[in-house]
Symmetry: C2
Subunit: 218 residues, 2 copies
């Protein structure tokens, strides 16, 4: 198909497609004449993956480029592709070298992960993310021990082991499996986040509201 047809099929405007081509996010089409290129199903699939990472995952273009390079690299194992996606998703780690409270929080995060028996790379940026959340909770006077956060770990592992990993294993080709992995990480992360806020609103309506979902008059 031509670029105009690719645009119609994907809902992505032509200038945006050209931008992705220039940025190397989308592979070039097959050149059939000096000013004409043909695009196929794999371009359409790739466009949808870019939009998913952008619109639902809200990843910046630089992070999307890293994820797509990993997806395209046949040398990388599934585990490495997942690591790349995690690294791209993780906000810039904010270690505070020399800050005792930070070191203590980071130790607590490491101990919690070890206590769970989880196999996580010692340099994974997610360890810093967990430490930052623990540090913040502690500063706000909220429970921030590994024990207090255990329900989150248990809910996360149950979801991953009972549902997510199974979906990935069932996927067919490497490309499909890798896409399921990346989409699963990013889009299902959003699904879980929005479900939690919906559940909170519903629980709050039962406890604090008048049952209509609107708050009572003061």
């Amino acid at each position: 198909m031509r670029i105009s047809q690719l645009s119609a099929a994907s809902g992505v405007p032509i200038p945006t497609i050209k931008y992705y081509l220039r940025e190397g996010l989308l592979p070039a089409g097959e050149q059939t004449a000096a000013t004409r290129a043909e695009y196929g199903e794999r371009h359409l699939r790739r466009l949808r993956l870019i939009r998913a990472l952008l619109e639902v995952g809200r990843l910046p273009i630089a992070a999307i480029r890293k994820v797509l390079s990993a997806v395209d690299d046949p040398e990388l194992s599934m585990h490495q592709v997942l690591g790349t996606a995690h690294y791209a998703i993780a906000p810039t780690a904010e270690p505070h070298p020399g800050d005792d409270r930070w070191s203590e929080a980071r130790d607590r995060a490491d101990r919690m992960i070890a206590g769970l028996g989880w196999r996580v790379d010692p340099d994974a940026p997610t360890r810093d993310e967990l430490a930052q959340a623990m540090l913040t909770l502690g500063e706000l006077g909220m429970p921030a021990t590994g024990e207090a956060l255990l329900p989150y770990a248990e809910a996360a592992m149950r979801l991953v082991s009972e549902h997510e990993i199974g979906t990935i294993r069932a996927s067919g080709t490497r490309e499909e499996a890798v896409q399921a992995l990346v989409v699963g990480t990013v889009v299902h992360g959003r699904v879980l986040d929005v479900m939690r806020r919906l559940a909170q609103e519903s629980a709050s309506a039962g406890i604090f509201g008048d049952g209509t979902g609107k708050a009572p008059a003061p």
Copy 2:
């Protein structure tokens, strides 16, 4: 305490504190002389709340202002404060008026919420967020029905009803309860997200990796 002491106690630089004062995020100190103001414990608590929303919640200043106004408004019920926090956290909803696929996804999201028996405001932006995630999953050829996403709903509700709502109810004063609510929504959302990625890495190490957390050589 003086502004310099407030800065030392909170770890927030003086120019940043002055910026929060100008922006109305932090209430003014008690003026004890023409060029001198006294700050107290509530300024310190407020500064910590701002930093939590900024650093862990990654909310923009405009969203933080909305959340803090709701926290400070004694007329608002807990349910309304939660709603304000949710609204501030929710990325701008992206309804696609006139787009049939969008309408269908939004219907599916509404049916799922109704089927769960959850009490959620008909205008809650979280409904659009769920619809967007469903639309994206469908476009990528991944399961996107209410049934397929049920494990996420169940995990979220279990966490909220067994742990989060209890924490909020146990809180003392309205200010403490409201802070627990806002922090719970924002910071614990991050905790759950990072736990899920840690659990994924660990599960992936077991299935795809060589058990060290590093991928095997190709």
